[in-house]
Amino acid sequence: MSVLKKLVTLMRGSVREIGESVVDANATRIYEQEIVDAKHNVAQARGDLTGVMAKEMQSAREIERLRGEVARYEGLALEALNKQQEGLAEEVAGRVAELEKELDEQTRSHATYAVQVVRLKELIKGAEAKIREHERQIVMAKTTESVYRATRSIADSIDGTGSKLVSAKESLERIRQRHEDLADRMTAAEQLENEVGSKALEAKLAAAGIGEGADRRAAIMARIRSRQAGSTAGADVPPAAQGEPGSA
């Protein structure tokens, strides 16, 4: 049974036991042993495969050689016949017959080796797939175990410190509150900066005699003097001329 399927079954029952029961040590050991066995089989099959492939190549070379020999001896037999050497041609034909028998044997061996190569390759592929599958199952089982153990540690740690997991809503509220606090603080800091910044600038401008109100005092004095001048010298003096001190 796959670990995932086992988990589905377990989850219908008691959730809390999943951590332990999904990877009962025994099951893991069996999986691990199967992986070791399968790996051993693969190693052996690979060794066998190398040997068989070498033999296959050797027999292929041998077949080539024998075919060459057959062709050569047939040529020689033909030559002998052409020179009316019947006896010699017969002898050579006998040699060709031997070579052909050998060639048949080699061809049969070669076919057997080819079949073995295919079989061994399939065997290796199958065993490797099995290893991958077992390893995947173990990974899944161990991950599940690890997650549940971690959860237990986390829960213990929270209990241990006396604090408890706050409810989700509370968490959200706290986080929102923090964000609002932060946003408020930033706004306040910004306002403060603006105020302090603009006042400082105004003060500097005033000190330099620039801007609205910079020479307000002088203007007020001028206005008062003009009123004074107006009341003593009469109303026919144009107001513009009264502004200058001493102009009356």
Partner: protein, 138 residues
């Protein structure tokens, strides 16, 4: 194989960088398996737990428990989680016992910066998920 703590050296700073400079604090949790708690400034209600098995590193964030759910909307919530799963970058919804979790998995030999990236993404996703799913919670 390196211990998780050795492998994740520098995770604090890397995660902080990935989160635009938020403070990050690591705390190993004692137990049978290695677990490291990653606490993030302003998000201390949603810590990320990093743990590992032989084959992978898992980053988990606990979202809510069964008892947090509005019972009448439970099926709707489960379907929504399945529907959302493919859209959430790098993280998946899951359940461990009574806890609904958001988790990200990496290869066992992942680099610390990859784990940092996953932790930062997971934290952002968890905030979004909690916010998006709050209508299903009581």
């Amino acid at each position: 194989m390196k211990t998780l703590q050795e492998q994740l050296r520098g995770l604090e700073l890397m995660t902080s960088d990935a989160l635009g400079g938020l403070g990050v604090h690591l705390q190993p949790i004692p137990g049978e398996v290695e677990v490291i708690q990653v606490s993030i400034e302003q998000r201390d209600a949603l810590p990320i737990y990093v743990t590992c098995s032989d084959s992978q590193i898992l980053c988990m964030c606990y979202l809510w428990e069964e008892s947090d759910l509005l019972p009448e909307r439970r099926t709707e919530l489960l379907e929504t989680l399945l529907d959302l799963n493919p859209s959430v970058p790098l993280s998946s919804f899951g359940r461990v016992g009574n806890h609904y979790v958001l988790l990200g998995a990496l290869a066992r030999n992942a680099r610390a910066e990859d784990v940092a990236h996953d932790v930062a993404t997971l934290s952002d996703n968890a905030l979004d998920a909690l916010d998006a799913m709050s209508e299903f919670l009581q």
